[in-house]
Symmetry: C2
Subunit: 244 residues, 2 copies
């Protein structure tokens, strides 16, 4: 049987995973998906993700590819995988791609959302998917600072590259907005450095609290001033990976 | 020190509770709140809830009252309680009420929301707070059927009374609407029978699937035809308890 390459879109609740990428120990999204693929297709399958997500980070639209000799419909494969995958992972879609397609290298951009619950009292119903910030936040200033990040910049101030040494990335969209008690920070880039989203959010929070001026925020980007430490993972969600 | 009566508004994630009301065994919201009150005020306190919620049912605005000799500010008490309560319960507000006020008997209405995720594939990020229904649903018909319930009716078809024998209740609001993949069923009544919301939702789902006509739905209310069994608890949330 000929091999085919399939692209899957995954949703997962990151709470009980030690990130996406398989490791020697610890429960990972890749590990659970490879186990499910072995169980359903009968063959050992190596899954290549569009990118890693850290421990505790969620995904609505992570992408990954793998090769398989599966010769029945993708819909049957998808339903079978969703039947054996644990409750905190689901395959949202499957489609066939060219044999030289790479979920990682062909990705044009990644879109992340960080969710802040901005109210005085913690929320049992929201705490799994947001960060509580009780102080008043100046969302307009946060949004203005976020605009400074748009375009191609050396983002070395906000993180280290997962591979190699290049720290220039292109930020395609940056937006901070409020919906009732929630502040949503949306960032889309061709690629991100390690912990980059969470350190940007931490630094934007300093701006929102009035601890950092817009000018000082620019100095952080220019590496003349330290960025804030990364905010916790549970507010972060990989919304989508985009391809041509 | 004089006793004062306080009304608290509670939010909780019902997943890991065996309902609101204290029992001989099992973790309950009332039990955890009474433990926290003993720890903070130093006195054993009996909490009276506006109503019970079943195992697994959530609340954004459950109400309860208790008497205490606490003589410092309510804000201090609220923060102290939220510091010792487990992560899945929070006190959203505290206010003083008259000594003859009852969270249960003075409640004018209770508002519940049931959340259905209506898409083909299950959702790891939504499954904790919704019921997945994969079939296409006719939301207009569900909403029309829900309108039939408004007003004072004998709701005995949908549940048993928690106390006594009276099964007449006044449904003040009933609405079924769609927002993207979510179908929200909002029901507000002076009071509800045991499992009434979940059996109404189950029966409305039969209408949405085309298994029950509007005329047949009316026959259910008239007790000429059986209601559907209750839907699972995780989609249900007590939004608010209202007082004069």
């Amino acid at each position: 049987m000929d091999k085919r390459r399939l692209l899957v879109i995954l949703e997962y609740d990151g709470t009980d995973f030690e990130g996406f990428q398989i490791q020697k120990t610890g429960r990972t999204v890749q590990g659970e998906l490879e186990k499910a693929l072995l169980r359903i297709t009968g063959s050992a399958v190596r899954v290549i993700g569009a990118g890693r997500t850290d421990t505790g980070v969620h995904a609505l639209g992570q992408a990954a590819h793998f090769d398989t000799a599966w010769d029945r419909s993708f819909s049957v494969l998808q339903h079978a995988l969703n039947a054996v995958l644990p409750r905190d992972i689901a395959v949202r879609s499957i489609r066939e791609v060219a044999l030289d397609f790479s979920a990682r290298y062909d990705a044009v951009s990644r879109a992340y959302r960080y969710t802040i619950l901005n109210r005085p009292i913690r929320s049992p119903l929201a705490c799994r998917y947001s960060l509580l910030v009780s102080e008043t936040l100046d969302v307009d200033s946060m949004n203005k600072a976020a605009q400074e990040l748009q375009g191609s910049h050396d983002f070395g101030a906000f993180g280290k590259p997962p591979h190699g040494v290049l720290t220039v990335r292109e930020l395609l969209q940056a937006r901070v907005g409020r919906t009732e008690d929630y502040i949503l920070i949306d960032l889309e880039a061709n690629a991100f450095l390690y912990r980059m989203v969470r350190r940007i959010v931490g630094t934007l929070l300093e701006v929102g609290k009035g601890a950092l001026t817009l000018e000082e925020f620019r100095e952080v980007l220019a590496r003349k001033r330290a960025a804030a430490p990364p905010v916790p993972p549970q507010g972060l969600c990989l919304l989508a990976v985009k391809y041509e």
